[in-house]
Symmetry: C2
Subunit: 105 residues, 2 copies
């Protein structure tokens, strides 16, 4: 039995995947958790996480593009904060599953 031609992928699902992709990097996960409840500016994050400032900026741009964080400028510094704390809940759920995966090995 042959499989019919693939139809164009649902745009919403593509965006869904892109949002997940924004979560799929260890440094970005660290950044999101670091921002939870604590708006921080870029070099503050860089020092806390021991990540070079340009790298932090690049990751923040990715998170901003997916509207996971928002920024406001205060003098020369730019402060970032979470736009929706539910993203932390989603990450926590995945983390719980991860812990079980490790336990059931």
């Amino acid at each position: 039995m042959t499989v019919p031609n693939q139809l164009p992928m649902d745009e919403l699902t593509v965006h869904h995947a892109k949002l997940c992709q924004a979560l799929a990097d260890p440094k970005r996960i660290q950044i999101l958790y670091a921002l939870d409840g604590h708006p921080r500016h870029v070099s503050g994050l860089a020092e806390d996480l021991n990540i070079p400032q340009p790298t932090v900026s690049r990751h923040l741009r990715i998170l901003r593009k997916q509207a996971l964080v928002t920024s406001r400028r205060d003098g020369p510094a730019v402060y970032y904060k979470l736009r929706d704390r539910r993203i932390i809940e989603a990450l926590n759920t995945v983390h719980e599953i991860l812990l079980e995966n490790i336990a059931n090995r």
Copy 2:
């Protein structure tokens, strides 16, 4: 002020990111939702989703590696099912955030 050398990345966070990475593809998202409450075999998924069977198999291998799905063979067919339905909840949370992102544009 110079940033100190980066320390080795927390292994748990690396795995956390890998788990998110497994969610970061539209076809895998489709597969996970298709499996929600309905164990399916490979070519059933392929037909439902209009995706070539080898492609489905490759994505299922990735999901299996992250223990998001389990498989059991029944004759020549292999049935897959979700290992933990909370992954759907995590995806749903991300989806809600996505819908708001689209609305607030």
